[in-house]
Symmetry: C2
Subunit: 638 residues, 2 copies
C-alpha cells in the first residue's frame, strides 16, 4: 500500500504539472516514498489545520508544491481534485509555491533556505510554549516539527545560521529530512559543493542518520527513531530526483519542467497505473490516507481533555497567549524628554512585553545598542529574550515562524543597515501578513563615526516600496508611542526605524495624527511652503521654519512617521496636510525618492555617507536649518 500511495503522489504531481504545463516534478517524485511514510507518522487534524499541538511540516523547497498539494489532498485537508487540476492557475488554492491561504500550508516557502530557518523557528516556539504551558504529567505541547529540504536549502547561508541555533538549544523536537539527490539546476551538486553534510550537522550539534530514501523500512525505522532524541535530528535521505520518470530519473531535466505526456504515460504503465487516466486516486489509497481525519479528530479530542485538566493559571496563560490583548499596555510618557528613539523604543518594548505574555523578541547580537533587552524577563527557552547571534537572516525567518506558530508576537532587532541581510524574511512576513515587528536602530548618517558601511541610505525606500509593510520612523519619544499603538492596531508587519542620537520633543499636533501617516505640527496662515520630514529631520524643519519666519516667509511643518499610511489617506486629508497654496519640500537623511509623490523637491542623500562626527555629517550633507531654509527659498523662487 505504501508503494501505491507513493506512486499516487508521483502521478498526481506529474499530472498537475503536465496540466499546468509548468512546475517542478523532480522533487515530488523523488520524495514521494519518504512522504508516503511520513504522512502516516505525523499527528495532525486535517479538519482543523489550526490545532495547536499538531506536528508541523515545513516544505522548505516550495517549488515542490505539487508534493504539498498531493499530501494535503490525500490527508483530507480542504482541497479537492479540481483544486489539483487548477494547479498554478490564477486564484486557485494551489499556487506555484505554497501560500498560507491554503489550509494545511504552515508557512509560505519559495526562496531557498527560508523553510529550514522557519522550521527552527517553529521548534523554538514549541519549546518555549512547552516550558510555559506544560504541567507535570500533563504536557499539552509535545509535537514535532518536520522540515523537508533539498540541496539548495542547505547551500544557502541562512540554513547554517538557523541550524547553529537549533543545535545550541538542543531542539529535540526538530527533524530535518534532507532530500539528497545530488542534483541542482545547473547539474550535479558537486560542480559547486562537496561538503560532508553529516559532519557539518554534527559540528552544529545535530544527531544525523543516513538512509536510502526509497527504502520504506529504513524510512519508517528512522522516523520512529526520532521520537526519543535529545538533539535536533537530521535524516539524510539519499534519493533519485524524478524517481519513476524512466529515462529522466536522476536528471536535472526533471527539476523545473513538465515531463511530457508521453513519458508520463509510459511511467504510469511501468508502475501498473492506467496510462490513459490522469488524476487517479484509487479508493483503497484514499481509505488509507484519509484515516488521518478520524485519527486527527480523536487526537484533538484527547488533547482538549488534557487542556481541560490544566490548572487555572495555565489555562489563563494559554488563553492570553491565544488572544494577545494590547489594550492594557501602560505606555511610557516621554513628554519634555529629549531621547534617542532607540531608547524610547526600548522602554516601549519593555512596557508591551511586561503586559502581553505573547510579546517577545531579540536582537542579532546588538541588544545593548538596539535597546531591546526585555529586563528581568529571562532568556529563551525559559524567558522572552531571544539571542539570535550574529545572524540577521535566520532571525527574520525564525521570527516569521514564531509569529505564525499561533501563540506569539515577536520582534527582530538589528542596525538598520543590516536590514539588507534579512530583507527576504521581512518580505515574506509582509506576504503572509504576519504580526512581526522589526526594530532597526542607527537609522541614518547619524551613525557618525562608523561610516558609510554602517549608514543607511536606500533602506527606507526599500521598505516603503514593499507591499503590506509599514515603516515607522518616529521623531520623538511620544510619537514613538503613538506609532506603536497604530502598529499594534494594524496587525501587519512593521518596522521601527530609530535614531542613535537624542531627538528634541515635537510640539503637539495641529491637524491629523500618526494614524494618517503624517500630520501638521506647525501651521501658519498664509504659509508659502510646507516642510515635511520624518525622524531626526522633523525638529530640523521646525528650526528652518523659524528662520524662514524671521524672513517673513511662513512655513508649515509636517511630521511624517509613516509614509505607507500617508499613501492610504483620502484626498481631503492630504489636501489639509499639504496645503495647496504651498510648495512642498521633503527633508530626509535618506535617498528620499519616494517623497516626490507628495513633494515638489526633496532634500535627501545623493551619495553614501562618511565617517565622522554625526553633527558634522548632517551639515556636510545639507541637513542644517540654514540650508533647509535656503533650499526652501530656492524652491519658492523657482
Amino acid at each position: 500500500m505504501r508503494s501505491k500511495i507513493s506512486n499516487t503522489i508521483k502521478f498526481l504531481s506529474a499530472d498537475m504539472i503536465q496540466k499546468a504545463n509548468s512546475g517542478h516534478p523532480g522533487t515530488p517524485m523523488g520524495l514521494s516514498d519518504v512522504m508516503s511514510v511520513l504522512m502516516s507518522k505525523i499527528r495532525h487534524n486535517p479538519k482543523n489545520p489550526k490545532w495547536l499541538n499538531r506536528d508541523r511540516i515545513v516544505f522548505s523547497g516550495g517549488h515542490a508544491s505539487a508534493l504539498v498539494y498531493s499530501y494535503l489532498y490525500l490527508s483530507g485537508y480542504d482541497l479537492d481534485l479540481d483544486d489539483l487540476k487548477n494547479f498554478r492557475q490564477l486564484h486557485s488554492k494551489t499556487p506555484g509555491h505554497p501560500e498560507i491561504t491554503t489550509d494545511g500550508v504552515e508557512i509560505a516557502t519559495g526562496p531557498l533556505g527560508q523553510g529550514v530557518a522557519n522550521a527552527v523557528g517553529f521548534a523554538m516556539a514549541a519549546k518555549y510554549a512547552a516550558n510555559l504551558l506544560n504541567e507535570e504529567n500533563n504536557e499539552i505541547i509535545d509535537h514535532k516539527i518536520y522540515c523537508l529540504c533539498g540541496d539548495g536549502d542547505l547551500e544557502e547561508g541562512i540554513s547554517y545560521e538557523a541550524c547553529a541555533l537549533a543545535g545550541r538549544h538542543n531542539l529535540d523536537n526538530l527533524v530535518i529530512i534532507y532530500d539528497s539527490n545530488k542534483i541542482t539546476i545547473d547539474g550535479s551538486t558537486d560542480i559547486a559543493w562537496d561538503e560532508d553534510v553529516k559532519v557539518r550537522f554534527e559540528a552544529q550539534g545535530f544527531e544525523v542518520a543516513r538512509i536510502d530514501g526509497h527504502n520504506f523500512d529504513q524510512i519508517e525505522f528512522v522516523l520512529d527513531e526520532t521520537k526519543n532524541k535529545e538533539k535536533p535530528y537530521l535524516i539524510i535521505a539519499n534519493t533519485t530526483i524524478g524517481k519513476g520518470a524512466l529515462e529522466l530519473e536522476g536528471s536535472h531535466k526533471t527539476h523545473g519542467a513538465p515531463l511530457g505526456e508521453d513519458l508520463i504515460k509510459r511511467a504510469k504503465a511501468e508502475l501498473k497505473f492506467d496510462p490513459d487516466k490522469t488524476f487517479v486516486v484509487d479508493e483503497d489509497v484514499l481509505f488509507e490516507t484519509r484515516s488521518a481525519v478520524e485519527k486527527g479528530d480523536l487526537e484533538e479530542k484527547l488533547w482538549n481533555e488534557k487542556v481541560a485538566k490544566l490548572s487555572d493559571e495555565k489555562k489563563n496563560l494559554l488563553n492570553s497567549l491565544l488572544n494577545p490583548d494590547f489594550s492594557k499596555v501602560a505606555f511610557p510618557d516621554f513628554s519634555g524628554q529629549k531621547v534617542a528613539t532607540r531608547d524610547s523604543n526600548g522602554k516601549i518594548l519593555n512596557a508591551i512585553a511586561a503586559s502581553v505574555p505573547s510579546f517577545l523578541g531579540g536582537s542579532a547580537d546588538l541588544a545593548a545598542s538596539n535597546k531591546t533587552e526585555l529586563k528581568d524577563m529571562g532568556d529563551f527557552p525559559n524567558g522572552k529574550n531571544l539571542h539570535f547571534g550574529i545572524r540577521e537572516h535566520a532571525m527574520a525567518a525564525i521570527n516569521n515562524a514564531i509569529a505564525r506558530y499561533g501563540l506569539f508576537v515577536p520582534f527582530s532587532a538589528t542596525f538598520f543597515i543590516f536590514s539588507d541581510y534579512l530583507k527576504c524574511g521581512a518580505r515574506l512576513a509582509a506576504l503572509m501578513n504576519l504580526r512581526h515587528y522589526f526594530i532597526f536602530t542607527h537609522d541614518s548618517i547619524g551613525v557618525g563615526e562608523d561610516g558609510p558601511t554602517h549608514e543607511p541610505i536606500e533602506q527606507l525606500a526599500t521598505f516603503r516600496s514593499m507591499p503590506n509593510f509599514y515603516t515607522f520612523r518616529p521623531a520623538d519619544g511620544n510619537e514613538n508611542v503613538e506609532c506603536w499603538k497604530e502598529a499594534l492596531n494594524l496587525g501587519s508587519p512593521c518596522a521601527f526605524v530609530c535614531s542613535r542620537q537624542g531627538l528634541e520633543c515635537l510640539p503637539k499636533a495641529v491637524f491629523g495624527s500618526v494614524k494618517g501617516g503624517a500630520y501638521l505640527v506647525k501651521e501658519r496662515e498664509n504659509a508659502k511652503i510646507t516642510l515635511v520630514a520624518s525622524g531626526s529631520e522633523v525638529s530640523l524643519c521646525l528650526k528652518a521654519a523659524d528662520i524662514l519666519q524671521s524672513e517673513d516667509i511662513e512655513a508649515n511643518v509636517v511630521s511624517a512617521p509613516c509614509f505607507e499610511l500617508l499613501c492610504k489617506q483620502e484626498k481631503s486629508y492630504l489636501d489639509r496636510v499639504f496645503n495647496k497654496n504651498t510648495k512642498v519640500l521633503a527633508v530626509e537623511a535618506a535617498s528620499g525618492l519616494e517623497w516626490y509623490k507628495f513633494a515638489d523637491e526633496v532634500l535627501g542623500m545623493k551619495s553614501f555617507g562618511e565617517s565622522g562626527n554625526a553633527n558634522e555629517l548632517f551639515k556636510l550633507f545639507g541637513f542644517s536649518d540654514v540650508n533647509v531654509a535656503k533650499i526652501a527659498k530656492e524652491l519658492l523662487n523657482s
Copy 2:
C-alpha cells in the same frame, strides 16, 4: 621585539580610539600578537599597494580598523601619525571602517561575514590568474590571501557559503585566521553558538589548526606551515579580547567603546610604556617593521624580472587583463527580433566574454534560466564560467573581490527576486565603485506561475535608490545592447534587469538615447500626455498610445531603461523628453514610487503578485493597453 611591536599596535589602537572617543579596541588588542608575526611573514610592497603579486590581507571584522591602520602605518604605507590621530574624523585617511580610499586597504569591510567571502574571491581570482598566466618554472602569480575574522563573521551565513566553495575548489592559497575570543557584543558567544568550528571547516574541506593566539612561537610555526598546503587553511587562534587592557581583558566591554584614559595609562605602565605619552612608536620598532619597504621593493623588482621572462603570448594576455578593452566587442544585432531580454542579454554576455579576456562570471545555480552560460569558455578554475551554487550572497561578495583583484571584470547572475539575498554585496560594490555587473532575470509578475514569492515588486526601487549604482531594464534586444555599451562606459556597478518573456521591438529613438537614461520613441505634435515606461511595459505604452490616438488624444512615449541616468540629465534634456505641455504617466510592473520624480501619476504594483499565467497577471494588475489608455484619460481629466 615581537612583543614590543605587538604592544605598540595595542597602544596605537587604544590611543586612536581614545582620541576619537569612538571605536573598537577589543579586537586590535586581542589580535596584535598575531598581527605582529603575520606582518613579518607577508610579501607586499607598501610603496606600491597595487603590486599584482602581493599577498592580500582581508580584515573581515572592519570594526578592528585601528589594527588595520596601525599595521599600515608600521609597514610604511602612505599614512603618518597625524592620520592615526585623525582616526574616525571626517575626510581622514582613517575612517571608522576601512575603505579602499586608504592605500593598503584591499577591500571595504564592515558588515560582518563579507570579508570572509571577499577573501575567497581573491583566492579564486588568484587561482584563475595563475592558471592563465603562469608558465613552467615561471610562476608570476603565487601569492597568498590571508583573512582575519572573528566570531561574528563565522556566525553569518555568508561565511559558510563562501567557505563551502573554497573547500570545493581546494583553494590552497587561502589562509583564514579566526580570532576566537568567545566574546560577542551581547556577551559570551555561547549564548547563541556552540558549534565545533574545527569540525565545521573540516566538513567543508579545510585543513584546520588550533593555536594559542598569544604565543609567538605557535603563531610563527603555524604561519610557516601554511606555505605548502593542498587545501584552504583555517587557523583557530584562541585569544583574549582586549588583551593587555588589565581588568577589562576578556570582557565584551572592550568591544565597542574606548577604554578610558586612566585604564590606558595603567595598561601602558604595566607593559613598560610611558603612561603619559600617546601615539608612541619607538625607533627600533619602526626600523624593524619598516624593513617591509625595502623588502617589498626588492620583491617587486624580482617579480618584474619574472614577468619580463614571460612568453609574448602571456605578456600580451597579462596586458589585456590589466587593461580590458571593450571597444572591439562585436555586439549582436537584434533588429526585428522579438526576444526575451534574458536571451539577448545572454548573447551580449557571450560577445563581450569572447572578446575581452577579463570578462567572466556566473550564476547562483540558474545559468540555464539566467542565460548566462559562456559557451565553450570552460569552467573555473580553467575557464570563465563560475558556478556559485545556490549562494547569492557569497556570489556577490566573491565577485566584489574578483573585481577588486586587478585583472577581472565579473558578473553575478540570479533571479531578480533573489537580489534580496545579495543586496549588501551590491551595496558594497557601489560604495567601492567596482566594475561588477549584476544580471537579474525574471524581472516582474511576468514570472507568472511561480507566484508572489518569485515576483519582484520593490526591487527596482531598492536599487534605484542606492547611490552610485545603475539599474538597466531594457525594453528590447537592441536597447539591451545600448545599455551594455553605456554600462561598460560608466565603469560603476550596474544591474541588468531582464525579462523572462519575449519583448516586441521598439521603434527608433525620436529624441535622446540610452545615455540619457530615457528617450522618446514616439513624439506627436500637440501631445497631451507622455507615457513613460521601462522594459516590458514600453511596448504596452506604445499600444496604449495607439488607442489614445484613435480617440484623438496625442501621446508621446518614452522608453526609460535607466532611471539613475535620467536623474543626472540637465533640465533642457528633461524638458524635451517630458514635454511641459503634457501630463506624464509612468507605467511599470513594480512599486514605481520613484517615478513620481518625473510623473504626475504612476501605474505600478500596489500589492504582491499572484501565481498564474503571466498575460493574465499583467491584465489583472492593470497592465493592459486599454487600462493604460483609460488611466491616461483620467489623468488628463483630473
